[in-house]
């Protein structure tokens, strides 16, 4: 791997995952020739701009026509080239959802979809851009791998892994500055959760921007004598059953934490898992079946109950 040339961020730095997207795209464009980026006039918004600037020959531009872009990705994949489709969550995971289902997932084509503008993390753009349903819509399609990295470094580790994974993958790209949790030596594996804090009383299973908030809540709870395990569930599908069962078996309950509607996302995936393998008490921290609104990315979590305090409160109810 040409990983040596890749610069990672320091743990604790606030970094937008979009910056990681641009950085890893350029790196992987130089490392391998088997993929192309498909953009719908939003490279500036998704973070893909550095690739457009430095390797324009690796970009197929579709203008603002996502249905065409998504179905065309199915055709590109048919020729042996890996299409990496990139747009905003609402367009990739809803407007062109059927194109992804029928032209990519059904024929099991090797295509990747990376979407920014997901969750309240979007901030000021408001509800139409704050895709709170992507994990639900993408998880429902047979055979699709769904990945939701916690920070910029994990995203850069995950991107080559999804290129190497044969078959359709959806991956989230965060927008707002988010604390870096993982160091340069972190090893990402599709389908494998990581225990980022050990604990024995309660487990928080978090994804995306919620991992850093879960760690913050766990630290506060430690001050009150509550030992919290924090698990980063970077792959929502297939979910790491063993890690969920371990949380159910070894701690008093599970708090799921996601920047997503409480229906259909991480919480649902964890509950499906415990219901079948090891029934457990679960509290869901997520957006409570409502649409978002404008506001700063660091103001909205408190208003909608997906901040560290909400995780803290949910944990307290389980111990």
């Amino acid at each position: 791997m040409a990983d040596t040339a890749l610069q990672y961020w320091n743990v604790g730095e606030d970094v937008s995952v979009r910056d990681a997207f641009g950085r890893i795209l350029v790196h992987q464009a130089e490392a391998r020739s088997d993929w192309v980026l498909l953009d719908a006039d939003v490279a500036g918004g998704t973070g893909a701009k550095p690739l457009v600037t430095e390797h324009p020959d690796r970009v197929m531009q579709f203008g603002i026509a996502e249905q065409n872009m998504m179905a065309a990705a199915g055709g590109v994949a048919d020729t042996g080239l890996i299409p990496v489709v990139s747009t905003f969550g609402a367009f990739g995971c809803m407007r062109a959802h059927e194109q992804f289902r029928t032209a990519i997932a059904y024929p099991e084509r090797n295509a990747k979809l990376c979407c920014s503008h997901i969750g309240l993390d979007v901030g000021p753009d408001g509800a139409t851009a704050q895709m709170l349903e992507d994990l639900a819509t993408m998880r429902a399609i047979p055979g699709v791998t769904v990945v939701s990295p916690a920070d910029a470094n994990e995203f850069m580790k995950a991107f080559p892994a999804i290129l190497d994974h044969e078959g359709p993958v959806y991956m989230r790209i965060g927008r707002s500055p988010t604390p870096v949790v993982f160091g340069a030596d972190y090893e990402f594996e599709i389908g494998k959760a990581t225990r980022v804090r050990h604990g024995s009383d309660v487990t928080v299973i978090a994804t995306g921007v919620m991992v850093a908030r879960a760690l913050e809540a766990a630290e506060t709870l430690a001050g009150e004598g509550v030992s919290v395990r924090v698990v980063n569930m970077a792959t929502i599908k297939p979910i790491d059953v063993a890690e969920v069962v371990a949380a159910a078996a070894e701690t008093k309950g599970i708090v799921t934490a996601e920047d997503h509607n409480i229906f259909g996302g991480l919480g649902s995936a964890v509950a499906e898992c415990t219901a079948q393998h090891y029934p457990a008490k679960i509290k869901f921290v997520g957006v409570d079946d409502t649409f978002g609104k404008s506001g700063e990315h660091d103001e909205l979590p408190a208003m909608f109950g997906i901040d560290a305090k909400a995780i803290f409160t949910a944990c307290k109810k389980l111990v």
Partner: protein, 269 residues
């Protein structure tokens, strides 16, 4: 190569046998594309039935996926698999699905949800251009495809990108699911609209194999523009009691008598 008219007639005969055996299927729109399939698979396209996944093959997408009985039997006639597999239309123990599925050898794209075929063809043409592959891509579109916004996104994009390896054949048979196209969503002169997006547009009789051959040759000779062939067709072509009759658009069951009567006409056609 055998006479293309005769091949088209055999496609029609086998297509109706398949729909009869399958107890459902769309005869009208299947019969209207038989001549195009004969010309594409037995004259125009560079394909190898022994290597259906050969990456340099010419591609074909039936965007109006409901007309697949004709495509399946055409593939069988071309040697991709035994005719018996095509005649197992819509059966649980076969791969001749109600709408095209890529598990069938020779199927290059799934379809059945209208409006996605041309985009997939565009993607194939883009993949070819990016990798320096010389294959051509053909897409048959129906009236329903032309009513889907997705198709127009693909038309804009392919014209803008000057995709001269891409050919769309519009099977203009003028009837759709519930009523004539003119009453459901009249689209006017589709060819004229497509031309404004930078396509080379040709108008043909969609049942004249020689004219279709010439149009495809013209498409091959056209540089820096994709080609859009407006094929004037008759829904149910070849069977007098089906021609232009709306009932035969839909997924219908053919009785033994209806099959016998159809085949009598086609065998003497």
């Amino acid at each position: 190569m055998a006479d293309l008219k005769e091949i088209a007639n055999t496609i029609r005969i086998n297509c109706l046998k398949a729909i009869h055996a399958g107890r459902s299927g769309h005869p009208g729109g299947s019969l209207s594309i038989a001549d195009m399939l004969a010309v594409l698979y037995f004259d125009e396209m560079n394909v190898d039935p022994g290597r259906p996944d050969w990456n340099e093959r010419d591609r074909f997408i039936l965007s109006k996926g409901h007309a697949c009985p004709s495509l399946y039997v055409a593939l069988a006639q071309r040697g991709y698999f035994p005719m018996d597999d095509a005649l197992k239309l819509r059966k649980i123990d076969g791969f001749a699905e109600g709408h095209p599925d890529m598990r069938m050898p020779g199927i290059d794209a799934p379809s059945g949800s209208l409006g996605m075929g041309l985009s997939q063809g565009l993607g194939m043409a883009l993949g070819a251009r990016h990798q320096g592959l010389g294959f051509r891509t053909h897409v048959i579109l129906g009236d329903g495809d032309m009513q889907e916004g997705n198709t127009w996104e693909a038309i804009m994009s392919a014209g803008h990108k000057k995709m001269d390896s891409l050919v769309a054949i519009y099977d203009s048979n003028k009837l759709q699911g519930d009523a004539p196209v003119s009453t459901q969503l009249n689209m006017g002169d589709v060819g004229a609209k497509v031309a404004t997006f930078g396509w080379h547009v040709v108008y043909v009789d969609g049942h004249d194999v020689d004219v279709l051959k010439t149009a495809l040759a013209e498409a091959r000779a056209t540089k820096n523009q994709p080609t859009f062939i407006v094929a004037d067709t008759i829904k149910g072509k070849g069977v007098s009691f089906m021609e232009g009759v709306l009932f035969w658009h839909g997924s219908v069951t053919m009785t033994d008598d209806q099959l016998t009567n159809s085949l009598r006409e086609l065998n003497h056609g």
